[in-house]
């Protein structure tokens, strides 16, 4: 498993690096429309051909990777922070507060996410740049995606609260911020860390779903979601198999994230 984990980390780093230096690898840019050659097959100028508007697909995959791969972890970080805060407080406080917070969390979990995102997207201001819109989309994902993780963290915090070592710490006179920072948070970190890694692929896939509905990142900025929309039509993909590249990349990256998480959770 260690080899798999190293392989996964290496692949993720390579993909991230390629997306960061996208400007050097694909100088034609993601937005320029080569209108004389729409839907072109791969060539020396366009390694993955062009899309239906004549835009370089390789450039779009790289820039789309940058968007999805950099912003999904940011959203996951926000969601994990909120989950740790809400779940941790509820777990440590226990009693009625825990019941109320967890009831609220359950209510949050029962909300139809996709429709909620569509609604939020609909009331957003219209005149925002594509970059702002993508940041808002992922910020929404992050601020809405904490509930499941909060439940797990709450349960873990509760068991920590009742643990012997915490009883001993309290008996030794440690309390307040010191108790939280020195004893609770370090022991909660593994579960927060796992929740973070699990959230990343979830957010990538959610953005992809929004993209497929045409509600993701604004044109002309690409994301994996918008790139996957090319696969909507059976009629076009059968003759252009290179359109599968964003899908393969998405599968590879999500698998890498899972490999990293699974490997961390396995006992040594």
């Amino acid at each position: 498993m260690k080899v798999a984990r190293i392989g996964a980390i290496t692949l993720l780093l390579l993909v991230a690096l390629a997306s960061v230096i996208a400007g050097c690898l694909a100088p034609s840019g993601y937005a320029r429309q080569f209108r004389d050659i729409p839907d072109a097959p791969p060539s020396r100028q366009h390694w993955l051909g062009t899309d239906d508007l004549g835009r370089d697909r390789f450039a779009r995959v790289l820039y789309g990777t940058r968007v999805s791969l950099l912003l999904a972890p940011a959203a996951a970080l926000l969601a994990s922070f909120l989950a740790a805060l809400i779940g941790g407080i509820a777990g440590l406080a226990g009693g009625r507060l825990q019941t109320i917070v967890m009831a609220g969390t359950d209510l949050f979990l029962s909300l139809p996410w996709l429709f909620l995102l569509i609604t939020v997207r609909a009331v957003m201001p219209l005149n925002v740049s594509p970059l702002t819109s993508v940041v808002i989309t992922f910020a929404m994902l992050g601020s809405l995606g904490w509930a499941a993780a909060a439940r797990v963290i709450c349960a873990d915090a509760r068991s920590l609260h009742n643990s012997d070592f915490l009883l001993l710490a309290r008996a030794s006179g440690i309390s307040g911020w010191r108790l939280v920072s020195r004893h609770l948070v370090p022991n909660l970190m593994p579960v927060i860390y796992a929740q973070f890694w699990l959230s990343v692929p979830v957010f990538i896939l959610t953005e992809a779903n929004l993209g497929i509905l045409g509600l993701g990142v604004s044109e002309p900025l690409p994301s994996w979601g918008s790139l996957l929309r090319e696969l909507e039509s059976y009629s076009s993909i059968s003759s252009n198999p290179w359109q599968f590249v964003p899908l393969l990349l998405l599968l590879a990256v999500v698998s890498c994230f899972h490999l990293i998480v699974v490997d961390r959770e396995l006992p040594a």
């Binding site: 004549g54 609909a122 005149n127 045409g214 002309p220 039509s233 009629s235």
Partner: protein, 541 residues
């Protein structure tokens, strides 16, 4: 000799038997959804409209090919000089599918039902031009006069949509006068139409029509599956396909693909000119400027939109009326050219100036606006993205925003919280009367500035005057003069920036004879009476 006679007799009998044993023919195609109603007066969506076309008998029928009216259940008709009344002379000896005889009483019943305000018939709405009661006078069993409270423009043509219902059949709307009747309805799965044995129409040699014995309409939402089924020979036609599927079909089975040329449907964009809209005043000033709208229009490469987005199966749009509308189209008009130099000159005339490749207005505001369109419509999304690049060429920054349809409708009809919108128009009517609800400044669908109390501009006032004039005149040539002028004003002012006119694309199996797809709906089976199926198809089924 006797033996020879016997052999002849045997041969004749064999021939007769083979004729009698010919398997029934069945045409198959798909509906995108289940028909919501079988009541022809309540039809509002495509599937019900298809059933109405195949089963309904009408007094006059618009020939979808030459766009002229032809006799149906009425052998002759006359519109009164004041445009309020129409008199029909009805065909004798016609019966409904259940054997009930047809007479003027049925026409009177249908018209009264249709005009009943409690029924909320959308067909009836097209006849409503004034307050008051519609009167029907049965002169004889084969003659009826119908009088409307106010003149109705294009009155006779409107009867193409009115399927006559029986006034006394126990089967009510299921007793029909069209070529087929609904024999079976398997909800969510298919609809079976059988040949109407009492259909009045015969071919030139006196054979009863239609030729095909039954029509099976499968409910199929997925277009990919529909096309696959056509290619496998499981269905015989696809009435309307989009450019991407058409291209796939051309690559796989070119003999099945038909491009009938420009249809009546167009794609267009417009700027929000509502005075109370919650957008900046300086932006309202841009949008209300003819120079600005014309400059935007000239900066858009319509030929590229047609070639790339619609794979060449669309034409740069001219204006309100598609060239497919043979009579009403103003042939003097041409599509606006793609000319960014001219656009920049217009912008300069309007006080705009270019600074470091970015356009600014007279007050120094950067020219930037958003175009909203409905999410999920990839053709519109692609057009918006191409327009974004085109307008960048004149320094205008465009943000493309895709919204779910209800949110978009909310913005363009209620809150007016948008700047520009890209949508399409699906036209089914040829007569200018059908666009009164768009071009009158007081109309709700006057989308750039709906429901104006008084016309906001002089050119809108002129359009109001011309539209009312054409609606109250019976002479078609005079009406055309008025409507030609409306088209010219709309071309000059561009409240709607027309982008492309889509071609009418369809697919028909080679086993269907006499198929001749046209641009008007229903494109392929408009001549259902005359369609024939190859015998081997009938054998296989």
């Amino acid at each position: 000799m006797k033996r020879r006679h016997f052999v002849w007799l045997l041969l004749v009998l064999a021939a007769l038997c083979s004729a009698v044993a010919q398997p029934p023919t069945q045409l198959r195609f798909c509906l995108r959804s289940e028909p919501k109603t079988f009541n022809p007066l309540l039809v509002e969506e495509d599937s019900s409209d298809t059933v109405r076309y195949l089963t309904g008998g009408v007094l006059v029928r618009l020939n979808r090919d030459n766009q002229k009216l032809e006799p149906g259940l009425a052998t002759a008709w006359k519109v009164s000089k004041d445009g309020r009344s129409i008199t029909f002379l009805l065909r004798r000896g016609v019966k409904f599918s259940d054997g009930t005889p047809f007479s003027a009483e049925d026409v009177a019943y249908t018209v009264q039902e249709m005009m009943d305000p409690n029924l909320h018939s959308s067909v009836g709405d097209t006849f409503r031009s004034g307050e008051g009661k519609t009167e029907t006078r049965i002169v004889s069993p084969t003659k009826i006069a119908i009088t409307f409270p106010a003149p109705v423009a294009g009155l006779d043509r409107l009867f193409d949509q009115v399927a006559i219902m029986s006034s006394n059949s126990p089967k009510k709307e299921m007793a029909v006068l069209g070529p087929y009747y609904v024999a079976e309805n398997k909800a969510g799965s298919y609809l079976m139409l059988q040949r109407n044995p009492n259909y009045w129409k015969h071919d030139a040699s006196g054979r009863p029509l239609p030729f095909i014995d039954s029509v099976r309409l499968d409910i199929q939402q997925n277009r990919d599956l529909e096309l696959l089924r056509l290619e496998r020979g499981e269905i015989d036609l696809v009435n309307s396909i989009d450019a991407e599927y058409y291209e796939k079909l051309v690559a796989d089975k070119p003999a099945l693909a038909y491009d009938a040329g420009p249809s009546l449907d167009s794609e267009h964009m417009w700027f929000n000119q509502v005075p109370a809209a919650p957008i900046g005043d300086y932006k309202k000033a841009w949008f209300q400027s003819t120079n600005f709208r014309r400059a935007v229009s000239e900066s858009i490469n319509r030929a590229d939109l047609a070639r790339i987005v619609f794979r060449g199966h669309a034409q740069p749009a001219v204006g309100i009326v598609s060239p497919a509308n043979q009579f009403w189209f103003n042939s003097k008009l041409q599509p606006h050219p793609f000319d960014q130099k001219s656009a920049l000159q217009r912008l300069q005339q309007g006080g705009f100036r270019m600074q470091d490749g970015v356009l600014h207005d007279g007050a120094g505001h950067v020219v930037e606006f958003s175009i909203i369109t409905n999410a999920g419509n990839k053709y519109r999304e692609r057009m918006a993205t191409m327009i974004q690049q085109d307008l960048a060429g004149v320094g205008i920054k465009v943000n493309v925003v895709t919204l779910d349809f209800p949110s978009l409708i909310e913005r363009i009809t209620r809150t007016f919280n948008y700047e520009a919108c890209l949508l399409g128009l699906v036209n089914t009517e040829l007569d200018p009367a059908s666009v009164m609800n768009v071009w009158l400044s007081s109309a709700e669908n006057h989308q750039w500035n709906p429901s104006e109390k008084t016309p906001a501009t002089a050119w809108e006032a002129e359009i109001d005057h011309l539209m009312r004039a054409q609606a109250s005149t019976l002479d078609d040539h005079k009406r055309k003069q008025y409507f030609d002028r409306v088209q010219e004003i709309a071309w000059e002012q561009e409240p709607f920036i027309y982008l492309v006119t889509k071609n009418a694309l369809s697919a028909v199996s080679t086993s269907v004879a006499n198929a001749h797809p046209v641009v008007l709906r229903p494109q392929v089976f408009w001549n259902i009476d005359e369609l024939k199926l190859a015998p081997e198809v009938a054998d296989k089924r």
